[in-house]
């Protein structure tokens, strides 16, 4: 084989700590290498042309590029060699940037390691064989997981483009966190007035199938052809019949159910429709609090229901949907502030979270939109807001900024003044982070027009004095300790990843960071894609985000799906397992270990059994390859021979 080696300097990114010239010149001595050079930016257009020119001039049959991580540029170079007439799999990449130059400063050692990596790539390439993709049809249906504002936006955009959309929402209603908000910053427009119509659109759009109170059970398949099992949780109400009249809710005698929608500030009935504008407007029974379901005599709802929708025997059911792409929009959760002992650790009823205060402000909230304290129902006069509760605090494992709290505090302080002109609001803050359109102006308005007192410093302790709370903290601008007496304390609880995010990521085979936020494919250039083809991200499941950014990502993910669905077929990945039937002893071990069910029996003439790989289902994980006793099953492009060739070079 005639092999060419191209060593990239990546400006000074690589050349700064690796002698790229030497790597290129020494590479010339490796077996089969007939051409080697180094270039400033190999990924640039002239850099790619250099490769193509060398392929023709030197009759190259394989190419090694020693540069960055293959994650970004392997597709670039594969396209380049393909244009010059080579098979795209006659190409190997040696990562001498992330794996060498960026992590070591010893130039001599780095250069030696870079040479090792190049030698391994060349050794592997000598065993490469041309591979060819086949085409698989694309199922032009979309699954949206999560019915918050990001998911709603993505679903509506795609439905408008004529695609069928399946939306799965874990809760009984869609709208997510935004449905709980009273107003939105920086325009103080009513949250439910702008979200409500979109929620209605979802329920009325014929292209959208909504599964609320449902969860993803399993996901199989690949881009263009996913099979999704959805668990519809038992709501004990037949939603096909339920009209949402609410008669059952009114008569339910179990009045002390947890009011999740009002963040525990009120009490709900065991059978409940969480809020007046809920979509779908259907009742569901909270089994934990239902008398009938706990063996007591009741069944009032079943008697009162005019359409006989109550079904105490209901069980979870599994439905299967086939889709071609998935948008994950599972949102976020809020930090549990009870870990902060200095803020009372959840002991004081008048120390509440930001989202609880949002419910208090809301006209459909527990107090009908009148600001009252949870403890005694009295209207508070002095209110203290504390920012960064579970944000920017490494001691509670949350070193990142949640990005939204500074703004929602300013909004809540403004709304407080609107509700109660005689009230005083204080904000303890670390820094004010308001980088958004009209955001900083908004915070300034809170300070200057609404007289909200901003105190720069942390709070060290909150305690009760009589029926008021004393907030003790530092004013670091004045360099003094301050004490503020308050009737109500609102903690700006930060954003954390949604509960169950990790489990879902495993089902989707996408990665997540140490905080549970899903990883985008590239932090700048592929912000809504994941590393699993056909799975896209939208909203706060990827990281803390405000409403405008979540909506923008919803639309961005939708546009990605639309460009995928613009094709009728998709090229399959040929880097899959392949059985050499002459060596297969039909032990069936590969069938047992395959996590994707991609291997089945095949019968040859005379009833001889052999294993067979379903190329479209195989994900190329290689478990079968490692398991197969006679090594009859080989993962293409990572065969035993290729890996051994690399190891041999490394150990030589």
């Amino acid at each position: 084989m005639r092999i060419g080696v191209f060593v990239c300097s990546c400006g000074t990114n690589i050349a700064g700590t690796v002698d790229t010239k030497r790597v290129a010149s020494e590479a010339l001595s490796f077996a089969d290498v007939v051409y080697a050079t180094n270039y400033m930016y190999t990924c640039s257009e002239p850099g790619q042309q250099e490769i193509q020119k060398a392929i023709t001039e030197h009759g190259l049959q394989g190419v090694v590029v020693a540069a960055c991580s293959p994650r970004m540029h392997e597709p670039t170079f594969r396209r380049a060699v393909e244009k010059a007439g080579l098979n795209r799999y006659m190409f190997e990449m040696a990562n001498i940037r992330e794996h060498v130059s960026w992590i070591g400063t010893d130039k001599e050692a780095n250069t030696r390691k870079a040479l090792d990596l190049v030698r391994m790539a060349v050794a592997k390439l000598r065993f490469n064989a041309p591979l060819f993709s086949s085409k698989a049809p694309v199922n032009k249906r979309l699954l949206v997981i999560g019915g918050g504002v990001a998911g709603i936006q993505a679903a509506l955009d795609c439905a408008e483009g004529g695609m069928d959309v399946v939306m799965v929402e874990r809760k009984q209603y869609i709208g997510g966190k935004m449905a709980k908000l009273d107003k939105t910053f920086p325009t103080i427009d009513c949250s439910s007035c702008i979200l409500g119509p979109k929620m209605v659109d979802v329920s009325q759009n014929e292209k959208i199938t909504l599964y609320a109170a449902s969860q993803i059970e399993s996901i199989n398949g690949y881009i263009g052809n996913f099979t999704v099992d959805i668990r519809k949780k038992a709501t004990y109400v037949n939603w096909d019949a339920c009209t949402g009249c609410g008669a059952c809710v009114e008569k339910c005698p179990s009045k002390k159910a947890e009011d999740y929608f009002n963040e525990g500030l009120g009490q709900a009935r065991a059978i409940n429709i969480p809020f007046p504008q809920a979509i779908p407007k259907k009742a569901a029974i909270d089994a934990q609090f239902c008398r009938q379901l706990n063996g007591k005599k009741c069944g009032v709802c079943a008697k009162i229901c005019p359409v006989k929708a109550i079904d105490f025997e209901m069980k979870d059911t599994i439905v299967t949907e086939k889709v071609g792409a998935i948008i994950v929009a599972t949102g976020y959760d809020l930090f549990d502030y009870s870990v902060y002992g200095e803020y009372g650790g959840g002991r004081y009823p008048d120390v509440i979270s930001g989202i609880q205060y949002e419910r208090i402000l809301s006209a459909s909230g527990p107090f009908g939109g009148h600001i009252r304290r949870p403890s005694d129902g009295r209207e508070p006069k002095d209110i203290v807001f504390i920012s960064c509760v579970g944000s920017r605090d490494a001691s509670v494992g949350r070193p990142y900024c949640s990005g939204i709290c500074c703004m929602y505090i300013a909004k809540q302080a403004i709304l407080t003044k609107d509700h109660m002109p005689e009230s005083n609001s204080y904000v303890f803050y670390m820094d004010i982070r308001s980088p958004g359109k009209n955001y900083d102006e908004f915070v300034r308005r809170a300070q200057e027009e609404y007289g909200v007192q901003y105190i720069r410093g942390r709070v060290g302790k909150i305690y009760q004095r009589g029926d008021r709370m004393v907030v003790q903290g530092a004013d670091t601008l004045l360099g003094v300790q301050v004490e503020v007496e308050a009737d109500l304390v609102v903690l700006a609880t930060g954003v954390e990843s949604s509960s169950g995010a990790g489990e879902l990521a495993e089902k989707l085979r996408i990665s997540y960071d140490q905080y549970g936020f899903y990883m985008e494919s590239h932090p700048k250039l592929r912000p809504v894609e994941t590393n699993t083809a056909g799975v896209y991200l939208a909203g706060a499941c990827q990281g803390p985000k405000d409403i405008p950014s979540s909506v923008a990502q919803g639309s961005a993910a939708a546009s990605k799906v639309q460009s995928l669905f613009a094709h009728d077929t998709i090229e399959t990945n040929p880097q899959v397992a392949l059985v050499n039937e002459r060596n297969c002893i039909a032990c069936g071990k590969c069938i047992q270990v395959c996590p994707f069910g991609a291997i089945q029996w095949k019968e040859l003439r005379g009833g001889i059994k052999k294993a067979e790989v379903l190329q479209t289902v195989c994900q190329g994980c290689g478990v079968c390859n490692a398991t197969c006793p006679p090594k009859a099953i080989q993962l293409q492009h990572a065969t035993d021979n290729q890996i051994l060739a690399e190891v041999n070079e490394l150990c030589a």
Binding site: G341, E342, G344, G345, S395, K461, Y463, V470
Partner: protein, 298 residues
Amino acid sequence: MKRVAYYKGCSLEGLATEYDRSTRLVCEAFGIELVEIHDWNCCGSSPAHSYDPLLSSALAGRNLAIAADQGCDVVMTPCPGCLKSLKGAQETCEDPSKRKAFVDLVGRDVDGMKTISLLQLLYEEVGPEAIKKAVKRPLSGHVLIPYYGCLLTRPADRAKFDDPENPISLDRLIEATGATAPDFPFKTECCGATYGVTRNEFVGRLSGRILDMASQLGGEAIVVACPLCQQNLDMRQDQINKFAKRDFHLPVPYISQVIGLSLGISPKKLGLDKLCVSPDVLLEDRAGDEKRVQEQAG
């Protein structure tokens, strides 16, 4: 019987001998053998570590090394200041960049040693349930304020015990004796510490706040586990009264004395007579009264 090395530190030799006596009696009652560290020396306290952290670690570390030589792997100290120094020595020994210097000075490593406070020993090794079972003279009807001070549970990554901001171990131990322990908001506030010597108006203000809040909550006594807090709140209570123009009269017993009382150990043996503010109120037997009230009501 559990063997625990006992590092009493200088306070318990001098001003706080009653803490030492009551600690020994309570440990004995629960079958814990206290092995006194042979030829122990000062932990170095604040002066050593403000002069040279390595000196502080070496001074405290020597005691850990002796305890290890005596075959103990747990060292208990009732004093939070000593606790901090001993734990600091352990950290220094485990820090690769300082380990050599430490071992050179101390003569051996102290790997695997664990230092705990008396509070942690009583809470985790004995436990409120066992105390409850052993109580002979319940303190029911008494309202006792749990006060931890600033150092017992902090800094959190060094103390590794209880919640640094809202600890509850002392609360649970007080409740185990039958007494009521109100939720005390100033349980970890500063008492003024060594400013009692140089700037005692600080102690007047800071300890004054603690006494004020304790009496607002109906406390009859403030229960402590730190000799310095005890000294400020008890011995300086007159000074505080003068400074704050108040008339506080709150006894400040150690947790070991309170538990000792509930076990039926004599007040004299526990050194209750050593307290400046008379703790006589604690000796009133209200358990019987309560029972009678309940019987009458029932």
